[in-house]
Symmetry: C3
Subunit: 265 residues, 3 copies
């Protein structure tokens, strides 16, 4: 197997505790040649879907890497620690759906292994340090997945399917996937859905009863209105210029928004 110059790391550990730092130190020690890049550790605690969305959004925009991801409410139980090979990356984390959408984005899992190695010690509550980071370090160092675990059939993996949008002419029904720091709302609808619904730049729209404009930058959004524009990951986002769409609309992840063209009403 090749060595990987990059390990990415995503979790719900936050940065106020030393959990992330201990994993970094372990990776630095056991895979000194590799760079470790934090995608984020701000995944909402134990929110597997949140982590799965962010990881899937990122994998398209990253070089070959071992992607270490830990959002793991079932730590210590029967849920399996796994490695998935997909595209030119290896995904390492719990088999609870967290890794699935990322693997799907990379043309689906080409292989999977259940990790059978763990650090000695009595703790069963910190598998990031004791199971996942050690496995990621070995994989980044070029060890074959067979040395950290046993192959399993890909169709036994826990599957998490992210919501898509319902698209009709002039109308998109979509789920809120994420809000970002700026209050932009990332939708399950993609830019392709925009085309499929026949919604084009500068068209007048309505979102949750408010006027909205289809555009491509925040600054094009008319004062006091909503904008519907491509985000950085191929999806659509709702935004207001120099303000928070999440606050204006009072929306949070998992809620539904309906986008209609005004002519179509």
């Amino acid at each position: 197997m090749p060595r990987y110059d990059l390990v990415t790391f995503l979790s719900d550990y936050g940065l106020a505790d030393p959990f992330v730092g201990l994993c970094h130190a372990l990776l630095a020690y056991r895979a000194p040649h590799t760079r470790v890049v934090d995608l984020t550790h701000g995944i909402r605690p134990q929110d597997v879907r949140h982590g799965a969305i962010v990881l899937a959004d990122c994998v398209d925009h990253l070089p070959p890497a071992v992607h270490l991801a830990v959002v793991d409410p079932g730590v210590g139980t029967g849920r399996r620690p796994i490695v998935i090979a997909a595209g030119n990356v290896l995904l390492v984390g719990p088999d609870n759906g967290l890794l699935w959408p990322a693997a799907a984005r990379l043309d689906g899992p080409a292989g999977a292994w259940v990790i059978t190695t763990r650090s000695a010690g009595p703790s069963r509550t910190f598998d990031g340090r004791d199971v996942f980071a050690p496995a990621a370090a070995r994989l980044a160092s070029g060890e074959d997945p067979d040395t950290v675990g046993l192959p399993v059939a890909v169709d036994t993996l826990f599957k998490l399917h992210l919501p898509t949008a319902n698209v009709a002419a002039g109308r998109i029904e979509s789920e809120v996937l994420l809000t970002d720091r700026f209050g932009n709302l990332q939708l399950s609808a993609t830019t392709a859905d925009l085309d499929a619904a026949g919604l084009a730049p500068s068209m007048r729209l309505e979102v949750q009863g408010r006027p909205a404009t289809c555009c491509s930058t925040f600054a094009e959004i008319p004062q006091g209105e909503l904008g519907l524009l491509p985000d950085a990951f191929g999806r659509l986002q709702l935004a207001v210029d120099r303000g928070s769409a999440a606050q204006v609309l009072g929306l949070i992840p998992c809620q539904i928004v309906t986008i209609t063209s005004i002519t179509e009403r």
Copy 2:
């Protein structure tokens, strides 16, 4: 051009989204020899002045580097993506004033370029990943600024001038620039202003109607009083010992404080 061993990175991206991580991964891939150090990503969202102050404070205390800075409410619009050469550093970011005070601190811009290269893709909302980090990677690798953009006259750059203080004998009128995590208030006044106003250590002062002392460490501040002392960047700060001056005074950035010596009243 020389290679740079250090890229610093400052933004308003926060750490809860993967924006910072994606820029780090890109820098690691395209400029693998360089170290990337985060100055902070806690700049208040879209607060260009906040970012400009922090960056300017830091550049004096950093080795030769490419300084990547992104606080960019005008992303995707006509505002220009730029590189500024100043002292022994290159500054990379939007031409909205963010970089200006740092360049001014380093004896002023010696050259400037408008970045003309961007990563392929439809997104116009994440120039950190698509424009600025790729340019920073090439500059850190020793490429000439001419390979990432076109030279422009320095006097066409957007200028942002940070506030200074009004100084008279025994009196300083100053703006609050920042509050830090400890509630210390960084002022636009400098330690030189302190000398100019004739305010010396151990002198009795009054700030916003409260007794204050001119000192050099937090522990010298008398219980229940304010201290006026040099901060780590050559400016003055208002502080209380083991407490928050920001809370005690109810002040936030952009507000004015008046410091008078009690003998002078």
Copy 3:
């Protein structure tokens, strides 16, 4: 002295200000061979005990390193900047108790030095940048502690003793040391105390008047009950499954909890 490939860094600086980044840049410049890993910068402002607990918990789980730690309410005063040698590590920080429990965990201090070198400049409020990080960089580069300071007797060091638990048959009285991001409460009691009190897995317990179970993973905790289980650092923690024990019990660090076996009441 050997070079160290790893410098860890813990502080109460937070990440919203550039304090951590400036120390990183300095370390990158002066000790370019070493990796710097942040343990956390989320120690509560000026809470030396909080920092001491986290550092002591971590040192057992880290490779040979220089451990830089700064929680320093007395910055600029007579409190001494020190280096402590313990086990195969060097600890660098203020002599206010912050380093003591970590050194104790590593079989006690084998040597100590008062740092006598500091960067030029008028500031007396940022010893992380001006005293501690420069010393850590030199030590990581293989310089002898004698080159950064003067040896002092170990018994002159400021000692901070972390609380332990009162253990009787079927009963543990323990202090809350920490809460983590998930609301788990880390106790001063250890897994050894559990054995000493005769409390075994699956035993029915009572904590603060609520039913609790002795177990080893979060998922084993019965719905609506408390779990008492080993944390990742050899101590015991109180937890609820997919919820916050800190919220359920309304407890914060320094408060006392009593754990009794129901049969023993």
